[in-house]
Structure formats: C-alpha cells, structure tokens
Symmetry: C2
Subunit: 647 residues, 2 copies
Amino acid sequence: MIDMERSEEGAVEIGAIMEPAVHKVEAPPPQSTVEKMGLRMKETFFSDDPFRRFKGQPLLRKLVLGLQYLFPIFEWLPSYSFSLFKSDLIAGLTIASLAIPQGISYAKLANLPPIIGLYTSFVPPLVYAVLGSSKDLAIGPVSIASLIMGSMLREVANPNTETALFLHLAFTATFFAGIFQASLGILRLGFIIDFLSKATLLGFMAGAAIIVSLQQLKNLLGIVHFTQKMSVVPVMESVFHKTDEWSWQTVVMGISFLALLLVARHVGMRRPNLFWLSVGAPLASVILSTLIVFLFKAQKHGISTIGHLKSGLNSPSWNKLQFDSTYLGTVVKTGLVTGIISLTEGIASGRTFASLRGYQIDGNKEMMAVGLMNIVGSCTSCYVSTGSFSRSAVNHNAGSKTAMSNIVMALTVMITLLFLMPLFAYTPNVVLGAIIIAAVIGLIDVPTAYQIWKLDKVDFLVCLISFLGVIFISVQNGLAIAVGISIFRILLQTTRPKIIALGNILGTNIYRDMHQYKDAKRVPGFLILAIEAPINFTNTTYINERITRWIEDEMSMENKEINIQYLILDLSAVPTVDTSGISFLVDLKKSTEKYGLQLIFVNPMGEVMEKLQRANKLHSFLGVHSLYLTIAEAVFSHSSFVTQSKL
Amino acid sequence: MIDMERSEEGAVEIGAIMEPAVHKVEAPPPQSTVEKMGLRMKETFFSDDPFRRFKGQPLLRKLVLGLQYLFPIFEWLPSYSFSLFKSDLIAGLTIASLAIPQGISYAKLANLPPIIGLYTSFVPPLVYAVLGSSKDLAIGPVSIASLIMGSMLREVANPNTETALFLHLAFTATFFAGIFQASLGILRLGFIIDFLSKATLLGFMAGAAIIVSLQQLKNLLGIVHFTQKMSVVPVMESVFHKTDEWSWQTVVMGISFLALLLVARHVGMRRPNLFWLSVGAPLASVILSTLIVFLFKAQKHGISTIGHLKSGLNSPSWNKLQFDSTYLGTVVKTGLVTGIISLTEGIASGRTFASLRGYQIDGNKEMMAVGLMNIVGSCTSCYVSTGSFSRSAVNHNAGSKTAMSNIVMALTVMITLLFLMPLFAYTPNVVLGAIIIAAVIGLIDVPTAYQIWKLDKVDFLVCLISFLGVIFISVQNGLAIAVGISIFRILLQTTRPKIIALGNILGTNIYRDMHQYKDAKRVPGFLILAIEAPINFTNTTYINERITRWIEDEMSMENKEINIQYLILDLSAVPTVDTSGISFLVDLKKSTEKYGLQLIFVNPMGEVMEKLQRANKLHSFLGVHSLYLTIAEAVFSHSSFVTQSKL
C-alpha cells in the first residue's frame, strides 16, 4: 500500500472547486474520568440545570429563591392582586362544577364509595396549590388512573363484599403511588415517563376510554349482576346475557342525558362563546336528574340512586394503610402503575398549557409536588389524584391565572361536603355513567391517530397494538406490551443502524446519500460509507456483515472502470463507541486489508476520537493517512493514487 | 422576518473560499409503505443476504446450492482428500484426548452421571459434522452451560436423591434449548445473542469460572457434605465449617495434579512448539491418577473415585422427556438460559476462528445446526452441547481442515464408550476437579478487562457488575443484571443524545464541534447545533430543554457583538424521527420564533426529509428558506442579513 504525501499547500484545485489545506483531526481537550462522569451525570439527571437561577446571587436572595423553588406559592402570592383573584374565582367555580360530578363518578369507576371522589377533590388541590408550579392544572381524581386502580385491586379484594379492605388497599396504593412519584422527582428520574410515547398513550387512552364506557353500560342499562372483568368480550357477554335485567326507565333516562351531554360538548367545542354550555352540562344534569328522581319517586321504578352520603370533611386515614404481606405485592404494583400513569397525564397536561402560555414546567419538581400531594392524600381518605387534562383545559379556558383556582375549587368542594351531601341521595347512578362516558369520549382522538398513520406507519402500529391490547387483553398488559414494542423499536434502530453509501455532488466538496440525491455520483476507486448510529455490542456483527456485503458487491460489479482501493468510513454520525465497537474498527482495518483496501476514517466525534487514540496506543492500527476531517479532504489526498493505478 | 434572495449564481466568494451555488435538499425517490417495510424487514432479518448465491443460477445448480446450504457436509465431502484427512485425524484425536476427561468432568459439574458427558461428546459432534459450517468448532459439553443447567435444575429436583428425575429434566431442558436455538435461527432472530456484550460476557465468564472452581473445592478437599448453593459465601462457609472432612491424601493429590496441569498449560501457551504438552496433560493426568489409585488402593485411603461405568453407546431417551406441568416452567427457563449461553459461546467461537482463516459463518444457519444437534442429543441421552471455545482453539491449532475432525473425535469417544469404560472405575474425582479448574481458569481474562478499563469506564463497570453479580448473587441473575444495564445504557444514549455546538473553521466551509476543535469559531448571529441521535419520544423533552437552555445562555451572554438571529439545526446525524420527534420539530419552529429566532434545518437524511415534507403538508411550518444542504450554504445565504441588522 503506497501512501501519498499529504498536501501542505494552502489550497489546491480539484476541478472547478478550491480545495483548502488538509486539516488535522483533533481530540477534545483532555478531561479526567471523574470530570467526564460528572458532566454525563449532569446531562442525564440535571439536564434542565435547575440551579442556574441561584448562580452568582447573594445569600439572602439564594434563600428566598430556594424557598420559592420548594414552595412556588411564595412566587406568586406576594404580588397577588384582586384582579387576578377575580379570574381565579371564576375559573375555580367553573372547575368545581365539573369536579363534583366527576369526582363522584370516578370514585365509582374505581369501585370506591362516591364520597372518596369528593374528598380527593378537596385535600390534594390544596397541597398542590402550595407546591405546584403550573398555573393551569386542575387537580383531582382522573378516569384512567381510577379505572386501573379499580381493576388491579379487584384481583385481591372484592369491592362489594370486602368494602373496607378494598378502601384501605386503595389508600395504601395511593400512598405507594405518592412515594414512587416523589422518589422519581427527588432522584431526578423523571425521564422515565418519557418512555410512554405519544403513539402508545393515544392508543392506550382510546382503549381505556372504550373500557370505561363499556363499564358504564351497567349503569346505563340498569343491570344488577354485571361481570367483574374489564375486557370487551366478558362485558359484552354480561350485557347480552342479562337482557332480562335491563330497565327501560333507566335506559331512557341514560340515553337522554348522554345525548344532552354530548350535544352540549359538541356545541361547546364548535362555538367558543358557548364554552360554558359544555362545562355546565354535567352539574346541570346531576341537578336535573336528581330533581326528576325526587319528584317522580323514580327510585321505585327501577332507577338506582347513589343513596345516603355522610356529611363532613375527610377523616384521617393513615391508620388504615394496609402493609400486610398478603396484599403488599399487589398494592405496590398498583401504586407503581397508577403512579406512572397519573404522573404522565399530570406532567403532559402541565407542559401543554405551560407551553401555550410560554412558561416552563420543571418536570422533576412537579413530580415531587404530585407525589407529596398523593402521600398527604393517602393519609386523609383520598385516592390517587393528578392534574386532569380535560378539567385543566377548562381551567385554562376559564381564565385561571394562578394555582388559586385550585384553592377556590377545593373550598367549593368543602362547602358541598359540609352542607350539600343530603341532596345527592336521589342522584341516579345512570347520570353518573352518562357523565363518565361524555368525559372519556374525548380521549378517543381519531384525527391524531390519522396524522400518525400519515407520518409514521410503525408508530401507528404501536398505537394500534396499545389500543387492541387494552380492550382485548387488559389495561395494564396492553400498556406493557405497547411500551415493550416502543423500546424494542429503539433498540432495533441501534441494532440495525442505517449505513449509507455517499457520492460526490459534482462540482462541490459535498458528499451525500446516493439514494437520496440523484446528483450525488460514485467517486471512482472509493467506497464511501456513513454509519448513522453509535457503534456498540448490539450492532458490530451487523455493521461488519453489511460492510462486507457492500465491498463484495462493489468488487463483483461488472463494467467498472476502476477497482475500489479505499474504504472511507464517515463517522460524523457516530456519537459513541464502546469496547466492542472499537474492537470492530480495529478488526475492520485488518479485514479490509485482505480485500486490498485501505481504510480511512473521517470526522470522528470527540468521544470516538479519544477512544480511537487510546485503542491506537494498544493496537497501533491507525496508519499515517487514515484520519481526515472531511470526506473531500480524504478523497483529494488519495485520488491521484487512484488515477495512477489506472494507467 | 425578512427573507434573503437566494443566490442563483454559480459561485459566490466568502472570504477566501469559493462558495458554490445553494443546493436543493431532496427527499429520496418515493417508495410505497410495503416496499419500505420489505426493505426494513430484509435489513433486520436477512442482513447477510443468505440467498445472494442463488441469484441468476440455473435450477439444478440452485438445488445443489440449496442442499449444500442446508447440509454443508456436501460442500466439502465431494472434494475431500487423504491429505485433508491426515490433518483432521490428528486434530480429531487431539480434541478427543481433551473431550473425554472434560466430558466426564463437565457432566459432574451439571450434577449428571459422568457417562452422560461422554454420550454428549459422541452424538452431537456427528450431527454437527453434517449440518455445521465451521471448520474449527469442537462440539461437546462446555463448562458454563453445564454449571447453569446444574444450578437451575437443582431448584426443583435433588440430583442426589432424585437422580432419575434430575436426569430426565436435564434431557428435557436440552430439548427446549435445542428448540429455542433452532427457532432463533429459523426466525432469523440470531441478533438476540448480540445483546450479550463483550464486557458483560467477560465479567460473566470470569465470575462463572470462579464459581466453578469453588465448586471443585468439594472434590479437591474431599469434603462429603457440601452446600447445594453456588455463590461464594455459602461455599466458603461449607469449606471452613467442614474442615474435619478434609482428607489430606485427596488434598495432596489434588494440588499436585492441579500444579501439573497449570504448569503444562502455562508452558504450552508460552512455547507454541510445546503446545501438545497442555493438550495432553488432562488425559495424562487421568491415566496417571487412575494408575496411582489402582496400584496403591488409594480409594481405601479417603480418595473417592468415579466408580463403575456401564459400557455401551447412548440409549434412546425421547421417552424420558418430562413435560409434567410441575417442572415445565423451570425446564423451559433452563433451556432458554442454557440455550442462549451455549449459543453465544458456540457462535462466538465459530466466528473467531472463521475470521482467523478468512471464511464466513452464517450465524442464523449455525443456530439451526446447533439447535438440531441439541434436539437430537436430547433424544439420545445427551445434555446441552455447543462449540467449546477452548477445545475449538486446540482443534484449530492442531490443524483441523473440516468438520471431519469432529467425526474422528466422536468415533474415538465411541471406542472409549464401547471398550474402555471399566478403566475409569479407579479414576479419582479429585483429578476431575483439577481438570475443570485448569480448564476454566483461562476464562478469567484480566488483560482484556484492563484494556476495557483503559478504553471505556462504563463498559468496565458493566463487566464488574456482571462479575460480582455472578459470584455473590447467582449465575443467572448476575447475567440478567449485566444485560439489563447494557441495554439501559443504550436507551440512555438515545434518551440523552449528544447535542453539539458547531463553529466554523476559519477560511473553510467546514463546521465542527467547538469543544473538540479550538480552531472552530462561533459565527456571529448564528447558533449552530447538531443533534447526534434519532429524535423520538424518549428524548424530545430533553432536546427541547437543552436547546432552550442553549438559546437562553446565548441570549444572556454579555459583551457579545451581535444578537443571535438564526438557530441552525444540523440533522446530518439524525437517522430517524418518529411522530413525537416531528411534533417537536414543528413546535420548535414556534418556540424559536418567540425568541425572535429563525429556525433552519440542514441536511435531513432520507427518512427525516420525507417525514418533514409530510408534516409540512399538515402544518406548513417550513418557510421558504428553512432547509439547506450544508451549514455553509445556510450561513452564507443568511449572513448578509445578520450584517445588515448590525448597522
């Protein structure tokens, strides 16, 4: 292998293009292992640099900033004004009108007494108002977490016969959800919720909405003996095998109110000035239906009602937490799953509305707030709560300015708990079912699914699997399968990285994918490949096979003018290599030599360059002319040698 | 935002450099979803293009090639010559001299009767000779798979009291290992074994070698009541709590033979011409120690011997496969783990020696061969077998030319089974222990571990965790933890991708990492960032936070001459985006506008470009001048605008 003299001149002409001098490939300035680890830890766990604002501030200011960081209420309360309060009051009353009927309904969805839903709309919002940094989130129970908690706990306790046990298990699961959420925030592992992709969530939400709606058929049809299972098949069996239990009065009432709610929702979405219609409809339905039942004594005609509810505020429940080893496994698992799911909804809602208003949400900080709120909740007769997406949207549209709207809502709920509970005795269950269906129907987002289909077929597949898994297998397993597939897809992208053959765009120094650019032409004598992934243990075998195939194809090609003599490997898109990757590069040097090829590396990034240098100390596989800063410089430095061989 | 006229001239001067015309960014030629899926499937599962050789061949030739593909023996047998046979005969006899003592020893390691080890060195090598494509692999039982099978099956059956059940479970686990291996090959999922990185395996092997050696203390010290557990702590307790059971005769004999074997191994490795010394030592030790026991009646002095072994070949065992549901779970799990581990050793050995001789091994094809060999083995009283790395090295060095050396070895084992079994009655167990220790000691590869430490600290950590996990927790769990960490590391690389700030190398069109290249200088008015990973749901939050921080840092920088006005995002190293990634890019356009910045994308790769175009149809977020082929062209097209704003 003859090596060329490297050009030392300032600029040399190739064709019509001025070629600058050949530049040296450099490694980044040396850093110790500890420094590097420190930087990597910072990027992994403190990528948002939460302590930036403290830099260079005097001590007292640091203390104030620290207090504001831990308790965001101190950020807005000192400058709170009456005009802000007016906005918050309206927003707070608006979300309270939703929170009361939804709270009762979602608690029933979780197989819990209805009053627990009101308790959960009272204490957690107050805690969040002190600790949370979102101005839009409306805190309280949400449909999906309620569904999951209800279905997971039902595996170990029967909510109808073991009511007290079931309730205590729910508090305990909430406690673990809170512990888990707060730990994620404190350990700065918030990125774990990023592993639920948009496509996964879309499919999951739609599936869960259908499961939730199907569960409501029990209330809507007035069936007394309903299956305990969640998935489509047993529910539909229950519905059609119990036609004798259908109550026509209930069906009529249910369908009427469902239609009312859906029409109000539709009108409210189409006409922003009729927004209050969709917001007020649930409370109006509750009041109207309660009046109907009361006036017509409908409870005697087969319409089941909530029944007597005890007045009064949350009682302490820390002594009811159930750490018995018989249930511990299920309770921890339930806490984990509901914790992650409710966190995902809360953080996503917070981020969405924050970006609409142009402020930032610190994900890890929010997790601590949500976690603490659930821990406090579990000790005060609440089950798992988070920021509800739909109610936060209402809060945002109703003009909330600060977390004060949550306080207003909580106080409204408190008044309800203290004085208005007897009024709910005649509220029919069928209306609660209709409210739930009208609320969750918005989770089925067909237009977005269609956009995903247009953009990325694999993402759509993940979405579909998530959806089908939830409705046919189970809520938890459907989600687990979808997350598994998403992660497998990412691993597959690393395992089977793109390797691209580059060609020169004539008359330039630019080298681009020959498949993508028709103008990019093969350079005689050179095979130029770019690897588009970290080179590590999962893909060295593949990259090796793929490159070998490329060389052999190139060698066996007929009618070619010049044999390839150089393999140029563009490492611009290889962010990292591990030891397997380095061994592969060392071996590749040898195996290309067997084909009579000289291997040239172009533009290794910082870390890759460092490791190449270190490996070169051990194996000295880098020749004098085997590293270039650009493809153009590598081709330029060796092209005259290719021309020689042709003569 | 004022847009510049795009230069239409052939070349425009910037500084001393000729700037070519601005080039259009193109998408790859359109392909249907089915075509794309097909291509992706091909790259994922048929990356080695196994059917390439059939292309354009006449039908008869295709049939012959197909037969040779399925049964590689037809490739070499027709042209087999006497001179090749001479080499294979020597190699075959050499590996037989190792296979016989090791077979007996490894069977004992798996808590199986010693004769099973010999059976396993007879049938599987014959099957492999017909189906396998390696010329170097020496087939038979191996230490690590034996250890794992022994320890996993011991959880459900006691090998001392339930000998027959244990044996039948071992056959069944072997059957499942074979089924699993063959399925991986047929389904072309061979890349699964790539998930065991070099570093993981190194730590695992070293840990397993120590566990295996510690187990041999039972034989070496002559202890009768030894713990059933594997990890370091209980074994050392057993050793030191049972000092009364130590037999000095056994200890003396054990240490002498171990020293002999280690010296022979050392000399054989240092002096290639004394290679036979290390190869012959185990058989010599067996013969010598058997003679000593026989002559001095040492079995009466506390030295335990193998005892009577039945002469005769393998009996059928398909009727002994145990599919009882009590054991099925454990047996399937054992088959899975031993199947993967033995496959990893076999394929890695095959690839290593193939690359030394310059031929290719088809991983998926080999998996089918190994799988079938184990299925046949499980029906003929064999337990799990694969290509042993150490014996393959001996086979290679002894000059084997084809798989015929395995046939020679198998026939030698057959003769032993038929006629020489009575001779083993007096072989002392202590020598078998010494042979095992001398064989596995080579698995502790400190120099490679040191190289890994020098090259990549995180890889070293994985190696260390794997090692410590195996010796302190358990063989399977240590491996599982190490694999988990390796995969988590890859996910973390995607979750926290490198984002690099680029600067211009003065006097060129080259833009490089400003941290790596001191000559790379900031371009006034531009913030140029390169993302080095696929943009997907796991990292959009991070990338968003990181870019925001960068913009804010840049904005708040003091003493700067020119405000940044452009954010250039170099997408050259972004191989793919998913729907979350596309949403992020769409949102980024909006959020940069809030900072008064214009967002420019540079060089999106094929798939990314396609998706940008499709997203643009939905959201039309790409402006007229927001896509360039190179950073230089983007900077050039907008730099005069930056200069204007300064005036």
